[in-house]
C-alpha cells in the first residue's frame, strides 16, 4: 500500500471521522513502541564495546575510520581537524600528548600538524561489528547453552506430542470407566502451576537422580493439560465412521491411533508443536531452580547469569540475546496465523 493511496482512502461516505485519524495515530505509535525496542537491541548488538559506552548513543552502529599511513606500522584513527587558519582537513592521529594531538596528513605523510584535541572530531562510518557474534562462540559456553536449549526444546516437544496425543485420543474416542476422573485430573493440573510446587518437584527430580541433567528440565513439563485439551477438542470432530471401519478391518487400537487419528489431527498437532517450542525455548523459573552448573544451563539461564555479572559485557550480551531471538522470530514470521488462531480458540498460551 503506497502512502499516497492510504491518504486518499476515504470512508464510504467520503469523510474521515476523527476516530479514524486517532486510530491510525494509535497504530503508528504502537509500531514505534512495539518494534522500536527490539530494533534498538538489534542495532546495538552490532556496535563496538566503545561505542556502546558512548552517551548520548548513536542511532546506527558507527565506528571510527582508520587509515594506513606510509611509515606507520599500525592503522591510525582518522579525525576531522580544524587547523589554526580555520581550514578543515581530515587527519590521522599519531599520538596524543595531553591536550595536544600530533596529526599527519594521510595524503602527504611528510606534513605533520599539532592540533588541540578540542578541535578534533572523529570521522566515523557505518560498520556492523560481527565480532560480538563470533567471539562469544569461542570465549564462553555459549554454544553449549545453545545446544542445551535446542536439545531440551526438541526432545520435550516430541514427548509432549506423543503422550498428550495418546491421552487426547483416549479421552475423545472411547467411553470407559474412570473417564470423568481422568478428565478431572487434566483440569486439576491446569490449576496447579509450577510456581506453587517448585520445591517438591525439585525433590522428585533429586530422587530420580536428575539434578543438573537436561532431563530435569524436560520431564516435569512434558505432560501439558493445554495440549490434551487442544488435541481432544480437535479429535472430537473427526468422523467416527472412519474409526469404526478400521476396527471392522481388524486394525488394532494402536494402529487406529497412529495411522488414522494422528495423520488426521496434524493441524492440531502443529499448533501444539508451535506452543511447545515456544514454552520450552522461553522457559525460565524451573530451569533456574534446577540447573545450578553452568554446563547444563539453557540459553535463557545463561543469558540471565551473564547479565547478572558485575561487569556486564553488553556487546556480547546483546548479540547473544539477538541469537536467542532468531528461532522465535522465524516461528513468528512463518506461523503467526497458527498461533493466533490457537490462542483465540483455547484462550491459552
Amino acid at each position: 500500500m503506497k502512502p499516497i493511496q492510504l491518504l486518499r482512502a476515504r470512508r464510504r461516505n467520503g469523510h474521515w471521522h476523527w476516530t479514524d485519524i486517532a486510530a491510525y495515530a494509535y497504530l503508528g505509535l504502537g509500531v514505534v513502541l512495539m518494534f522500536g525496542p527490539v530494533m534498538w537491541l538489534v542495532l546495538s548488538s552490532f556496535k563496538t564495546q566503545a561505542s556502546l559506552l558512548e552517551f548520548p548513543p548513536s542511532l546506527l552502529p558507527l565506528s571510527q575510520q582508520e587509515v594506513r599511513v606510509e611509515g606507520f606500522p599500525q592503522p591510525l584513527p582518522l579525525f576531522a581537524a580544524t587547523l589554526d587558519n580555520g581550514e578543515r582537513r581530515e587527519l590521522a592521529q599519531i599520538r596524543r600528548i595531553g591536550l595536544i594531538a600530533q596529526m599527519v596528513d594521510p595524503a602527504d605523510p611528510k606534513r605533520q600538524y599539532r592540533v588541540p584535541t578540542a578541535r578534533l572530531a572523529p570521522v566515523r562510518h557505518l560498520s556492523f561489528v560481527t565480532s560480538n557474534y563470533t567471539e562469544p562462540l569461542q570465549k564462553f559456553a555459549f554454544t553449549r547453552y545453545l545446544w542445551n536449549s535446542v536439545f531440551v526444546t526438541t526432545i520435550a516437544t516430541l514427548i509432549t506430542l506423543l503422550i498428550n496425543s495418546m491421552a487426547a485420543y483416549a479421552l475423545s474416542i472411547y467411553e470407559f470407566r474412570g473417564k470423568t476422573i481422568a478428565m478431572l485430573m487434566v483440569i486439576g493440573t491446569l490449576m496447579i502451576p509450577i510456581t506453587i510446587i517448585l520445591v517438591p518437584v525439585y525433590l522428585v527430580i533429586t530422587k530420580l537422580g536428575l539434578v543438573n541433567s537436561l532431563w530435569a528440565v524436560i520431564l516435569p513439563g512434558a505432560a501439558t493439560p493445554t495440549g490434551v485439551f487442544l488435541l481432544r477438542q480437535y479429535m472430537l470432530t473427526l468422523p467416527r465412521d472412519l474409526i469404526e471401519a478400521a476396527r471392522m478391518d481388524k486394525a488394532s487400537e494402536w494402529q487406529i491411533y497412529w495411522r488414522i487419528v494422528m495423520p488426521l489431527a496434524a493441524p492440531a498437532l502443529a499448533v501444539l508443536a508451535i506452543f511447545s517450542i515456544m514454552w520450552r525455548w522461553n522457559e525460565f523459573l524451573w530451569p533456574l531452580a534446577v540447573l545450578t552448573r553452568s554446563e547444563s544451563f539453557t540459553l535463557q539461564i545463561g543469558l540471565n547469569a551473564f547479565q547478572g555479572e558485575l561487569q556486564t559485557q553488553w556487546n556480547y550480551l546483546l548479540a547473544m540475546t539477538v541469537v536467542s531471538l532468531v528461532p522465535v522470530a522465524l516461528v513468528f514470521v512463518f506461523l503467526q496465523r497458527f498461533i493466533a488462531t490457537g490462542i483465540a480458540n483455547t484462550g491459552m498460551k
Binding site: A23, A182, L317, A340
Partner: protein, 345 residues
C-alpha cells in the same frame, strides 16, 4: 489388515530429485520404526483385550501428571507441616502449623515491617500493587487495541502482528531489551537529556522500578489479551452494526450499547487471566530489577524461589507454606474463572 493412507509419505513418488529420495529413505526408516511399535502394541491388545487398551493410552500422560503435579502437591503440604533443613520429608520433624504461624506472625498485615517474615509480606504487598496496576493498564490497552484493530483499517494483519509479536519473546529477552533502553546511559535517558531533562536512574527509584515492571509486563503480554478480545469482537454479528448505522447512531453509543455488552464474556476472561498471571509474576521483573531497589519489586514467587533455592539456608518448609498460600489464592481465582466461563457459554 487394511491398507491405510498413512500420511507419512510411504508411497514412492517417482521424482528424480535428491530431496525426494532423501525424504523417501527417511520415511522408509520411520515406517520400519513404526511397524516395530505396531507389533508389541498388537500383542498387548490381544493380552489385555481391546477395551482396556484405553488405559494404555492414558497411562503415560497421567503418570507424568501424578509424578510431577499431584504427588508434589501432597509433598508440598508435608513440607509446610515439617521443619528442619533436609530436602527429604522422612528426615524432617513434624511441627504442625508452626511454619504458617511463623509466616503469619504480623503486628499488622498492612505493614510488612511489623511481620517476622517481612520479605514475604513485602512480596504480598508488591504483588498486589503490581497486579492491580497491571490489570487496569492491561485491560485498557488491550481493549483499545482490539477495538482499533477491529475497525476497517488498512494493513490490519500487519498491525495485529506488531502488537502480537512480543508475546513470543522470552521473559529474559523482554527484560534485557528494556533494561538496555532504561539503563543510566540508555536510549531513554539520552532522549530526556536531549529535551533538556535530567538523567533518571530508573532502577534506583522504587516508584520508577515498579512503573517499568508494570509497563514491561503490559508491553510483553498485551498482544495475547488483544487477540482474545479481537476474537470476541469479530464474533459480534455484523447486522447489529448495520442496524445501528441505519439509525445513524453515534459511534460512542454503538460502543457502549452494543460492543461492550456483547464483549463482556471475553472481557471477564481477560480480567481473570490477567489477575492469575499477575499474582504469579516473576521472570520479567526478576531479570529487569532483581526485585530491587531493596525489596521494592520483590514478588511472592521470587520470595518462594529465593527462600528455597537461592539463600544460604534453604528453608524448604517456609517456601512450601508460602506456596500453599499462593496456591489457595490461585485456586480461588481459577474457580472464579471457571464459573464465569461456564455461565458465559
Amino acid at each position: 489388515m487394511i491398507d491405510l493412507p498413512d500420511g507419512i509419505g510411504l508411497q514412492a513418488v517417482p521424482t528424480a530429485s535428491r530431496l525426494a529420495r532423501l525424504r523417501r529413505s527417511g520415511a522408509t526408516i520411520l515406517g520400519a520404526v513404526l511397524r516395530l511399535i505396531d507389533r508389541p502394541m498388537g500383542l498387548l491388545q490381544r493380552l489385555i483385550g481391546e477395551r482396556r487398551m484405553v488405559y494404555v493410552f492414558l497411562l503415560p500422560n497421567l503418570a507424568f501428571f501424578s509424578l510431577f503435579v499431584f504427588v508434589p502437591l501432597a509433598i508440598d503440604l508435608a513440607y509446610s507441616l515439617t521443619g528442619g533443613e533436609s530436602l527429604f520429608p522422612s528426615q524432617r520433624p513434624y511441627v504442625g502449623t508452626e511454619q504458617y504461624a511463623y509466616l503469619f506472625d504480623c503486628g499488622s498485615f498492612f505493614d510488612p515491617a511489623s511481620c517476622r517474615v517481612d520479605h514475604f509480606w513485602r512480596g504480598v504487598a508488591n504483588t498486589m500493587r503490581f497486579t492491580v496496576f497491571q490489570l487496569v493498564s492491561m485491560v485498557t490497552f488491550s481493549l483499545v487495541t482490539a477495538l482499533v484493530l477491529n475497525m476497517r483499517i488498512r494493513g490490519r494483519g500487519f498491525f495485529r502482528a506488531v502488537y502480537f509479536f512480543p508475546v513470543l519473546l522470552s521473559p529474559v529477552v523482554v527484560a534485557l531489551v528494556w533494561k538496555w533502553i532504561l539503563q543510566r546511559d540508555g536510549l531513554l535517558n539520552a532522549g530526556l537529556t536531549m529535551i533538556g531533562g535530567q538523567k533518571i536512574l530508573f532502577f534506583v527509584d522504587p516508584g520508577w522500578a515498579m512503573f517499568w515492571s508494570v509497563f514491561v509486563s503490559v508491553w510483553a503480554h498485551m498482544g495475547f489479551y488483544t487477540l482474545i478480545l479481537l476474537a470476541g469482537l469479530q464474533a459480534i454479528p455484523a447486522d447489529l452494526y448495520e442496524a445501528a448505522q441505519m439509525d445513524a447512531t453515534p459511534r460512542w453509543r454503538v460502543l457502549v450499547r452494543i460492543t461492550l455488552p456483547l464483549l463482556w464474556p471475553n472481557l471477564i476472561v481477560v480480567i481473570v487471566l490477567a489477575m492469575i498471571r499477575g499474582v504469579q509474576t516473576f521472570d520479567e521483573v526478576f531479570v529487569l530489577t532483581g526485585g530491587g531497589p531493596g525489596t521494592a519489586t520483590l514478588m511472592i514467587v521470587q520470595y518462594i524461589y529465593e527462600t528455597a533455592f537461592a539463600s544460604q539456608v534453604q528453608n524448604f518448609g517456609l517456601a512450601a507454606a508460602a506456596s500453599i498460600v499462593l496456591g489457595v489464592v490461585l485456586f480461588l481465582l481459577t474457580l472464579a474463572q471457571l464459573s464465569r466461563t461456564r455461565s458465559a457459554s
